[in-house]
């Protein structure tokens, strides 16, 4: 039984009834209804509680402007959506909705005690208390937090998918009302690529809320005209029309973001699993038309926040768009002519208009006559001073206005179940403001409207302050023509139209930011922000206390900071502030509009970049082999690398020890494909290398390789690697795995901004080459077997050189370089042959019991030799000399970071230097990151001075003891001395400072 549904009219599909629930009760509506219209059709007005005082809240608006009609949608723990606006939720069969922010129930809500003590909870009360002992803020906070918040977040992973996509267009039209349609038609006919985005499910905007029998465009009813526009646009290949799509963010360079609802409105069974729930459109538009319409303002009077008090335009929308009467007995309260039209429309539909209350001294004669003819009592120059009704408005109390701030005369008590209010209209200028345009106050409106453009956009129609349909159509067409012309479609003419409409007096609103109640200011409860419960007196208190700038007042009172973005709040609040401060509206100004225009799902913003597509992992061509051979993987930068290969019966630790031992006693192979590789070409390549590496590069002959250090401008080590000279003007650079992208960017930055005279070309070839690093006493034998007709013996193929060869016919580059100190070769083959190479190596190594080893063994092996890992043994504060590697800073030529190496602090003797540490007890493995102190007993006072820290630490199978690298103050001078490694809860560990090449010094003992 939809008691308030009219027998005809509305843009709903009466042939498709829909059943849904609210707080467990089942209701019926029709396809095309929103939750709000369907509940109203069933006579339900109260649907929510406000944020602070938990006051009953109903439905004020009919779209995204509605401030407080918020509900929780969906009962599935992982799929539930909090804070959904009932005016925007489209209903479908089986939809479950719930009230939120109330306990135990909507009608009996314990939180409503706040409303009993409202006198003690004014704006910012929490800044004045809850700070002293014993019950300080940490005591109160949990209570406050529990009371705050609105709906409940889902519990787990979102079952839905999202997508995002990019589009370029000539003309983007935001808003599909009369202005937007005219703009889109005009621009589309010129051939321009047009995107039209409309926030709601239907094109037409305010036309959908008009009496279809009274207005005709091009000889058609408004709805027919909209359908004709839609059909024309649909036929044009250069046009994309997106409904349920909100243009929510205007960014730099005409970048506009749209959020499209693709499936929320469909019943679960009707949803297409192949399509996303919502979609983010990133649009780069040459020209933008903002046809985002206007929002009606409520009036601010004592008792203005009860369910059943609704914007007049919303009541009209429910009538004509949804075929719903928002009440049976309505009071219309206005300060302009527009709402008189709403009153007459409601009357025509059978709503009894029990009063029109107009704050203006002398409403239009013609309107008075029309009201009289309909038998509607009119109260000119009057105001509502109070309302009653616990969960729905029951009465309005009306008195005459006396001057600007007073009331006089008898109070008239009027029984009603609906109060339709209109405080005038505010252009929706949020997107304009986001584009960096400045709003200006138009006293004629009165309201703020767009000033001069900052980006390539123009506003049209109600968004621009036009209040008549004829003006909206004309402005839209002109804006479309202008946008098309400016985007390269010269000579576009505005689309023509004809319009028939009954004569209506122009809108003629006045500025009434707050209406008097005849009560004392402190006992007047006139709400400005219905969601956050900000009252007019809160704004006045803000001014009284010095929070006088709009931004301060907004923050102090939380005005307009709710999930409605303050769409119905702003101008009233600014007006109250202006009155209070005795300033003009222009002087007071508006607060900054921030993106988004309305709340946008995080999932849609993340788009498809979730799960496996979030920062996709990189794997090498040999990955499958690793996987099938017991590899434990670790993420390194974007890569997944084999950390260790566990064989049956092995633990991580025992596998590591085996790998590291075999690599020194026989032969091991490491997948080194992840190392960054940069192909460097050009006649100045050599000079370039000499500038970016701290050591000397000019004399490196073709066929030879060299290890290099790169420094930042501050002289600190930034990356390292081996680079081979392939030809006079051609080099192959390697970088650390994690540093590959960083280094390439860095080199490009220097080439493009500092050394534009150098002819050098850089290409990332990391992914082009697969690399097997074969090392150990039997490495030469393996390489001889792997490569074709190739003699890898050291006598023939010296250390730090490079040869081209083939391996089983595969073209290969072989480098004789070593990161373990063993005889070692790195074979590079085109990536697609990586696995073939690897298998060939394993086969050739079989008779030597070759082992594949992972990053963990690699770290250990290099540490045994004292080789550094940039980023582990260095941290951006380590200069080449600190590494105690001689010859890494040339004196022959300039290089990046050189000047910094002679700075006072860089030449300091007691800088932290890299040394080895051997614990007194060889079985003790130090913790990486542990700090080194100078005393055997840790001082109790804090701060306790530290000498440095352990950078790398392992249990070495080849040395049969623990080893560690550390950065220690003046470490070079401490060789042979004992230092102490601090640890939590126990005495420091004694360790001897040694040189970093453990193989050399300890090796002989084992």
């Amino acid at each position: 039984m939809q008691r308030f549904r009219l027998h005809q009219g509305g843009l709903i599909d009466r042939s498709r009834p829909v059943h849904f629930t609210f707080d467990g009760r089942s209701y019926e509506g029709y396809t095309g209804d929103t939750l709000a219209s369907a509940l109203l059709a069933n006579g339900v007005h109260m649907i929510a509680r406000s944020f602070k005082y938990h006051r009953p809240r109903g439905i004020l608006g009919a779209g995204s402007e509605d401030p407080a009609g918020l509900v929780q949608v969906g009962a599935n723990a992982n799929e539930t959506d909090p804070n959904m606006r009932a005016t925007e939720v489209e209903i479908f069969d089986g939809l479950e909705t719930f009230s939120q922010n109330c306990w135990p129930s909507l009608s009996f809500d314990i939180g409503a005690v706040n409303d009993l003590v409202w006198r003690w909870l004014p704006a910012g009360f929490y800044y004045k208390t809850f700070m002293g002992p014993p019950a300080n803020w940490m005591f109160f906070e949990p209570l406050i937090r529990r009371a705050a918040g609105l709906g409940k977040a889902p519990e787990g992973k979102d079952p839905d998918r999202y997508e995002s996509q990019n589009r370029h267009c000539d003309v983007l039209v935001a808003g599909g009302g009369p202005s937007g349609l005219m703009a889109a038609l005009t621009a589309a006919r010129s051939g321009a690529r047009v995107i039209l985005s409309e926030e709601t499910p239907l094109l037409g905007g305010r036309l959908n809320a008009l009496d279809p029998s009274e207005t005709s465009i091009n000889g058609k009813t408004p709805r027919e005209w909209v359908a004709a526009c839609e059909a024309e646009l649909a036929k044009l290949p250069n046009v994309t029309v997106l409904t349920r799509t909100c243009a929510f963010g205007y960014y730099a360079d005409n970048f506009v973001a749209l959020a499209q609802i693709e499936q929320d409105h469909l019943a679960p069974a009707a949803r297409d699993a192949a399509r996303p729930r919502q979609r983010l459109w990133r649009i780069r538009a040459k020209e933008v038309v903002l046809a985002t319409g206007a929002t009606e303002r409520p009036l601010v009077f004592h008792g203005n926040d009860r369910p059943g008090i609704m914007l007049a335009s919303a009541a009209e929308t429910y009538l004509h768009r949804y075929g719903v009467k928002a009440g049976n007995r309505a009071v219309v309260f206005t300060n302009n002519n527009g709402a008189w039209g709403s009153a007459f429309a409601l009357a025509k539909a059978g709503v009894q208009i029990v009063a029109i209350v107009d704050a203006r001294p002398a409403p239009e004669e013609a309107l008075m006559r029309q009201a009289a003819s309909l038998g509607i009592p009119v109260h000119p120059h009057a105001t509502i001073v109070d309302t009653r009704g616990q969960f729905r408005v029951k009465t309005a109390v009306v008195r005459r206005l006396d001057g600007h701030r007073g009331v006089s005369g008898e109070a008239t008590v009027i029984n009603c179940d609906l109060i339709a209010v209109s405080g005038g209209w505010s252009p929706n200028a949020a997107l304009f403001s986001q584009s960096r345009g400045k709003l200006r106050f138009d006293a004629g409106l009165p309201g703020f409207r767009p000033g001069p453009s900052w980006q390539a956009e123009r506003s049209a129609g109600a968004a621009n302050g036009a209040m008549k349909l004829a003006d909206c159509l004309a402005e839209g067409a002109a804006a479309g023509a202008d946008a098309a012309t400016k985007s390269g479609f010269a000579g576009t003419n505005p689309a023509a139209y004809t319009l028939q409409q009954p004569d209506a007096p122009s809108y003629n609103g006045i500025a009434t930011w707050q209406l008097p109640s005849g009560r004392s200011a402190s006992s007047t409860r006139a709400f400005v922000d219905l969601q956050n419960d900000v009252q007019a007196k809160d704004l006045k208190l803000a001014v009284q206390e010095g929070y006088a700038s709009v931004e301060h007042a907004k923050r102090y009172t939380t005005t307009g900071m709710g999930t409605d973005q303050g769409k119905t709040v702003g101008i009233n609040a600014f007006g109250i502030l202006a009155d209070e401060l005795g300033k003009s509206m222009q002087e007071v100004g508006v607060t900054t509009y921030r993106q988004p225009f309305k709340p946008i799902t995080f999932g849609a913003l993340a788009g498809q970049h979730g799960g496996a597509l979030y920062a996709p992992r990189r794997t090498t061509p040999m990955h499958d082999w690793h996987e099938s051979h017991g590899a434990v993987f670790e993420p390194v930068g974007e890569w997944l690398r084999a950390q260790v290969y566990t064989r049956p019966g092995e633990t991580f630790a025992s596998a590591l020890q085996r790998e590291a031992r075999t690599a020194r006693t026989s032969v091991g192979v490491l997948d080194a494909s992840t190392l960054g590789k940069i192909d460097i070409r050009g006649k100045d390549a050599r000079e370039f290398l000499n500038r970016v590496y701290s050591n000397a590069w000019l004399k490196l002959a073709p066929g030879r390789c060299r290890y290099g250090l790169m420094l930042k401008e501050d002289g600190m080590v930034f990356d390292d690697g081996v680079t081979a000279c392939l030809a006079e003007d051609h080099f192959h650079m390697t970088t650390t795995t994690g540093g590959a992208a960083r280094v390439l960017n860095w080199l490009e930055e220097y080439l493009q901004t500092e050394w534009t005279d150098l002819e050098v070309y850089l290409t990332s070839v990391t992914e082009q080459w697969a690399v097997a690093a074969i090392g150990g006493p039997k490495a030469a034998e393996v390489v001889a077997a792997v490569a074709d007709k190739f003699n890898p013996n050291p006598g023939n193929f010296p250390f730090m050189s490079f040869r081209e060869a083939t391996a089983g016919g595969i073209p290969a580059r072989i480098f004789r370089i070593s990161f373990t100190g063993e005889l070692s070769y790195e074979i590079n083959v085109p990536a697609s042959y990586g696995l073939a190479l690897w298998e060939r190596v394993m086969a050739a190594g079989d008779k030597y019991k070759i082992t594949a080893y992972g990053t963990e063994a690699m770290h250990l092996l290099r540490a045994e030799k004292g080789f550094i890992i940039v980023g582990q043994d260095t941290d951006g504060t380590v200069a080449p000399d600190d590494l105690r590697m001689p010859g890494m800073a040339k004196t022959s030529a300039d290089f990046i970071g050189r000047r910094s190496l002679t700075r006072a602090d860089t030449v300091r003797k007691d800088r932290k230097q890299l040394v080895g540490l051997l614990t007194e007890d060889p079985s003790v493995v130090l913790m990486e990151g542990a700090h080194i102190i100078a005393t055997a007993v840790e001082p109790v006072e804090r701060p306790a001075p530290a000498l440095g820290h352990v950078t790398s630490s392992y249990k070495s199978p080849n040395l049969n003891r623990s080893i560690a690298l550390a950065l220690v103050k003046g470490g070079g001078e401490l060789i042979g001395k004992t230092v102490y490694v601090s640890r939590k809860g126990a005495d420091p560990i004694h360790a001897t400072v040694v040189e970093t090449d453990f193989m050399k010094q300890v090796g002989s003992h084992s």
Partner: protein, 416 residues
């Protein structure tokens, strides 16, 4: 001025709150002051407060081009912690944290200091190593950092996804329990109110347009509201510091970038603490109102416009949804940006300059809120005595020529 307390609130409730007086005056600039502070953000107002309170300098003014707290102070996500790596950093941030602990009462303004704990996640071995090193450094510096393994992380913050299969698995985290968040506006307003009572002129809507120097010595400033004579000018202009320094020809190694933050719609309590992740450039906490407060790394371009792009947010959100899958269906309520003043070593500059009487406090970049009281305290000392104290000394601008940097960049890319 009425004292704020439960009792005064109770009393005012009966009388319609008529007794509350302005939190600060709106004075016109005087012709001369003993010192002028440029910038009415957190650091500027704290500097004024400590100058007046501890150094008896009450004939001073804070000059703010817009409204106080309209810069980064009113835009930041208020993460507070002191567990920095370097000794010099630990000293100043810990100094600040100790001051935060009693600040609400000291200012008689509830700054809602919530010591709910700050977690920094490690997603790979490298990060774990860095964070463990920091934990050890903190221990020796007397700072309460703990290392949590993945299970403990989950216990401390139940909604977090620690599944090993996730793209950035949680291997562990550091936790500083004394860390937390507070209410930025309240700090700004509390300092302003307390400074105003001591006689400090807080002059809003007044832009400093020039600094007058004679023979290498500061003599005054020019502003949009006229000239002011003063022997001491202290610049605390955050993202706009380079512009101020340029007025007297002081060059600084500061780059200004937009830094963005955003909030979700309010929901019932979900995240009990602050969670930060460097690897994915994202962090989150939940405000007392229920909004999830989130942030990212800087927008890469240089800019003075207080806005950034959508892409930064898209990437951070993708990361946050991996960490907190239930965020996916929540909604973005508001997005904004501030201009942060980043230094090459990710540490601030608190310094005298070659111009006598001109002092700079800047370079706090993405993470200066937490330092506000400590920074103001140390800077006031420098301005009053013309000599840095032990806490301020390492942050002199000289370090960029000597090379004695206070390197925090290795420790944190999202350095809040």
């Amino acid at each position: 001025m009425p004292t704020y307390s439960f009792l005064s609130l109770l009393r005012e409730g009966f009388t319609g709150h008529k007794g509350w007086t302005p939190a600060w005056r709106f004075p016109d600039p005087k012709p001369a002051y003993d010192a002028v502070i440029i910038g009415g953000g957190g650091h500027g107002l704290a500097t004024a407060y400590y100058l007046a309170k501890l150094h008896g300098m009450r004939n001073i003014a804070v000059i703010e081009k817009g409204w106080i707290g309209g810069g980064n102070a009113g835009r930041n996500t208020t993460i507070i912690r002191s567990n920095y790596l370097e000794d010099a950093s630990a000293a100043i941030y810990e100094h600040a944290l100790k001051l935060w602990e009693g600040l609400g009462r000291e200012l008689n303004y509830n700054i809602m200091m919530s010591h709910r704990g700050v977690m920094n996640l490690a997603h790979d071995e490298g990060e774990a190593r860095v964070l463990k090193r920091r934990t050890e450094a903190n221990r020796l510096n007397g700072i309460d950092t703990e290392w949590l393994d993945a299970k403990q992380v989950k216990e401390f913050c139940p909604p977090i996804n620690i599944s090993a299969g996730s793209r950035f698995p949680v291997l562990g985290a550091t936790l500083q329990r004394r860390g937390g968040v507070n209410r930025h506006d309240a700090v700004v307003w509390g300092y302003a109110r307390a400074a105003d009572v001591m006689g400090v002129d807080i002059i809003q809507n007044c832009e400093v347009t020039g600094i007058k120097v004679e023979a290498g010595v500061v003599t005054g400033i020019s502003t949009s509201r006229g000239d002011i004579r003063t022997p001491k000018v202290a610049s605390v202009a955050a993202g706009h510091t380079s512009i101020i320094a340029n007025m007297v020809g002081v060059r600084l190694p500061i780059q200004s970038h937009p830094l963005q933050a955003w909030v979700s719609e309010p929901v019932k309590p979900l995240i009990p603490c602050v969670v930060m992740s460097n690897a994915v450039h994202a962090y989150v906490s939940q405000s007392d109102k229920g909004e999830l407060v989130m942030g990212a790394g800087i927008d890469p371009h240089n800019s003075y416009t207080q806005r950034g792009g959508l892409d930064t947010i898209e990437h951070s959100l993708a990361a946050l949804i991996e960490l907190f899958p239930m965020f996916s269906r929540l909604r973005l309520l508001r997005q904004w940006g501030g201009i942060v003043d980043t230094c090459p070593d990710a540490s601030p500059i608190i310094t005298k300059t070659k111009v006598k009487g001109f002092y700079i406090n800047a370079g706090w970049g993405t993470g200066g809120w937490k330092a506000t009281p400590g920074s103001g305290h140390a800077f006031a000392d420098l301005v009053a005595r013309d000599e840095p104290n032990a806490i301020a000394a390492p942050f002199s601008v000289e370090r960029f020529s000597s090379g004695a940097l206070v390197a925090e960049h290795g420790a944190a890319a999202v350095a809040h």
